[in-house]
């Protein structure tokens, strides 16, 4: 870069900084709000951190908002975490196996099955939510982890992604492993899975966040407080009857709810970015 390079570099950095500010500002507000007591936040907003930071988080994690009838956030985080993990792992396992079956095996109605899976892409959770609820209710799976996660596990998108990836794996690799004596599952385990690991990591991040952020479905299938997820919890804290919402605690909960997805992204980043930008020869 030369001459105008400096200017355009400035411009680029300006835009980037602006973008980061737009994203980071609400988080900053949440952080600040979560460090004051309830009174401070009534009718005004402080510009700097207060002294109740640790106290707020301890309250939220341990006992929750007693006055508003909200439970402790700790168990909610746990529920969310279990749900997100089970959905992510389940989705990946199911979809990689179905993609494997569709790409590598000749069975009757193979393309039929492929299209059946593919068509469900057009039916997101929200569209089929009532019949799904009916099924789960009839199976008596309400208020259970199974009910919370099972309907969200089947995934046409992930199956399709893995299928597309498997189609790019050279056929000679399959043949070489057949000659080496690997059976289908051995080939899957020793060759296909390691080759898919960047895809798996990328998908894991995306699906984990998808699971973590589920709102409507947990709202429907859980009636017992012990099964509430954190995203539902926040909603319940805000809409308290006959009292001020305790915004300091709500914000603390929000920050806590933000952490696990961030953690997953940070931990998986190395693989995730690799999966997006690099294809292994």
């Amino acid at each position: 870069m030369s001459g105008s390079g400096r200017l355009s570099s400035l411009l680029i950095h300006g835009v980037l900084i602006l973008g980061i500010a737009v994203i980071a500002f609400p988080i900053l507000i949440a952080l600040i709000a979560s460090s004051h007591d309830q009174i401070t936040l009534v009718g005004k907003f402080p510009f700097y951190f207060g002294e109740h930071f640790i106290e707020n988080y301890r309250t939220v994690l341990g006992e929750g908002m007693k006055r508003a009838g909200g439970g402790a956030v700790g168990p909610m985080l746990m529920n969310s975490f279990v749900m997100a993990i089970v959905i992510a792992v389940g989705k990946i396992v199911i979809s990689i196996l179905s993609a494997f079956a569709i790409v590598y095996f000749r069975f009757p109605f193979r393309m039929g099955f492929f299209w059946m899976i593919f068509i469900t892409l057009m039916l997101p959770v929200e569209v089929r939510i009532l019949p799904t609820y009916q099924v789960i209710a009839n199976l008596e799976l309400l208020n259970s982890y199974t009910g919370l996660t099972l309907p969200l596990i089947a995934s046409a998108t992930a199956t399709f992604l893995f299928r597309q990836f498997f189609l790019t794996v050279p056929e000679e690799l399959t043949e070489a492993s057949r000659i080496d004596g690997a059976g289908p599952m051995r080939f899957f385990w020793d060759v296909l899975l390691p080759l898919s690991r960047t895809n798996i990591a990328a998908l894991f991040v995306i699906v984990f966040i998808y699971g973590w952020n589920q709102y409507l479905w947990p709202l429907l299938v859980t009636q017992e407080e012990s099964m509430y997820t954190v995203v539902m919890g926040i909603q319940r804290m805000v809409t308290v009857a006959d009292a001020q919402a305790e915004w300091n605690l709500v914000m603390a909960t929000t920050i806590l709810a933000l952490l696990p997805p961030v953690l997953v992204v940070v931990l998986m980043q190395r693989w995730f970015v690799k999966g997006l930008v690099e294809t292994e020869k």
Binding site: P170, E172, L173, E175, A176, S177, R178, I179, D180, G181, A182, R186, D190, V191, P194, L195, E280, K281
Partner: protein
């Protein structure tokens, strides 16, 4: 090590026949090279031996066993692919060891075998690397190593060198030859490259349109091609094929009017039409020979290839040793070496 026997082997993809009955006996330890134009079924034939394609009819036997219904892993073969087909996520060592590991060899056994193969192929410094950190030639050697460690009865090669540059190809060709001498394993090798075919083969199989047109030692295929197809396919530039008529048992009139008298009668009745073949290197320049008008001369250094036309209009290619400067339109005299003439049936193309 084992012999391989093909009997009446056929292959169809759906209703589309691709291999039309191949019969061939490969002796234990023999190096067989399959050549032929693109799409003639070389790879298909090889893959049927490997067990990667089903055999539509006929049988293939490796050693005493008919292998038609055996899985590739049970056929005691190893295959080297054109694009190497190495496992990208495994190190060189793991690539070579994988087949042994699956077969349940002990760790020390695996190590010993891989070590030996790495020694033979000079791969020692690279054992810890991934395939993508290797050059094309090194990858090809790893692919070969993977085949060697298994100590199979038969090696199968499908154009293993065609992704390499010319120099490396020569080097690897010599290496394969050496390997075969050392290990003595029955090998079937598919190639497009004539030099590979001529230098590696104990016997050459020339395929055309799903049939084996000729099977024989390279020298025999070169000197006594069974059909006009083989005659033009093997040898570069290709053999001159000229329509001719028998005047007398030893006297032929070529298209364009040139008469050629052979040293001895060849048993063709006077009056029959046939195809007269002569290789470019068996035509010499001679001042008092039949006149040829030069249309193009390629100076290759060691030889000069002269493309010209006889006075009657018949095209003729001549290969002259040494460096010869000729211009388009020059007229030279040519002399056919009458002891090197090939005669083919006009209709069937079969050698007479």
């Amino acid at each position: 090590m084992a012999a391989v026997a093909f009997s009446a082997v056929r292959k169809s993809y759906g209703n589309n026949p691709v291999i039309h009955g191949v019969d061939m006996q490969i002796a234990d330890g023999e190096f067989i090279v399959i050549v032929g134009p693109s799409g003639c079924g070389k790879s298909t034939l090889l893959r049927m031996v490997a067990g990667l394609e089903a055999i539509s009819a006929g049988t293939i036997a490796i050693g005493e066993r008919v292998v038609n219904n055996l899985e590739p892993k049970d056929r005691d073969i190893a295959m080297v692919f054109q694009n190497y087909a190495l496992y990208p996520h495994m190190s060189v060592f793991e690539n070579m060891a994988y087949g042994l590991k699956i077969r349940g060899f002990s760790k020390s056994d695996i190590e010993a075998r891989v070590k030996r193969a790495a020694d033979i192929l000079q791969l020692d410094p690279y054992l810890a690397r991934r395939p993508r950190e290797l050059s094309g030639g090194q990858r090809q050697r790893v692919a070969m190593g993977r085949a060697i460690v298994r100590q199979p009865a038969v090696f199968l090669f499908d154009e293993p060198l065609s992704n390499l540059d010319a120099k490396l190809r020569v080097q690897m060709r010599i290496e394969i030859k050496r390997l075969h001498r050392e290990l003595g394993v029955t090998s079937i090798y598919v190639t497009h490259d004539q030099i590979e075919a001529m230098t590696l083969a104990d016997r050459l199989v020339v395929m055309n349109g799903g049939r084996a047109e000729q099977i024989g030692p390279p020298k025999e295929v070169y000197e006594r091609p069974a059909t006009t197809f083989v005659a033009t396919f093997i040898g570069s530039p290709a053999m001159n094929l000229i329509p001719a008529r028998v005047q007398a048992p030893d006297l032929f009139e070529l298209a364009g009017g040139l008469s050629v008298r052979l040293p001895a009668p060849r048993g063709a009745a006077a009056g029959t039409d046939l195809t007269f073949g002569i290789r470019p290197e068996h035509v010499a320049l001679a001042d008092d020979g039949a006149p040829l008008t030069v249309e193009l001369a390629e100076e290759l250094g060691a030889d000069t290839i002269v493309y010209g036309r006889l006075d009657g209009g018949q095209e003729l290619v001549v290969r002259v040793p040494g460096y010869l400067e000729l211009n388009i339109g020059d007229r030279v005299g040519i002399q056919i070496d009458t002891s090197k003439v090939h005669l083919f049936d006009k209709a069937s193309g079969q050698r007479l």
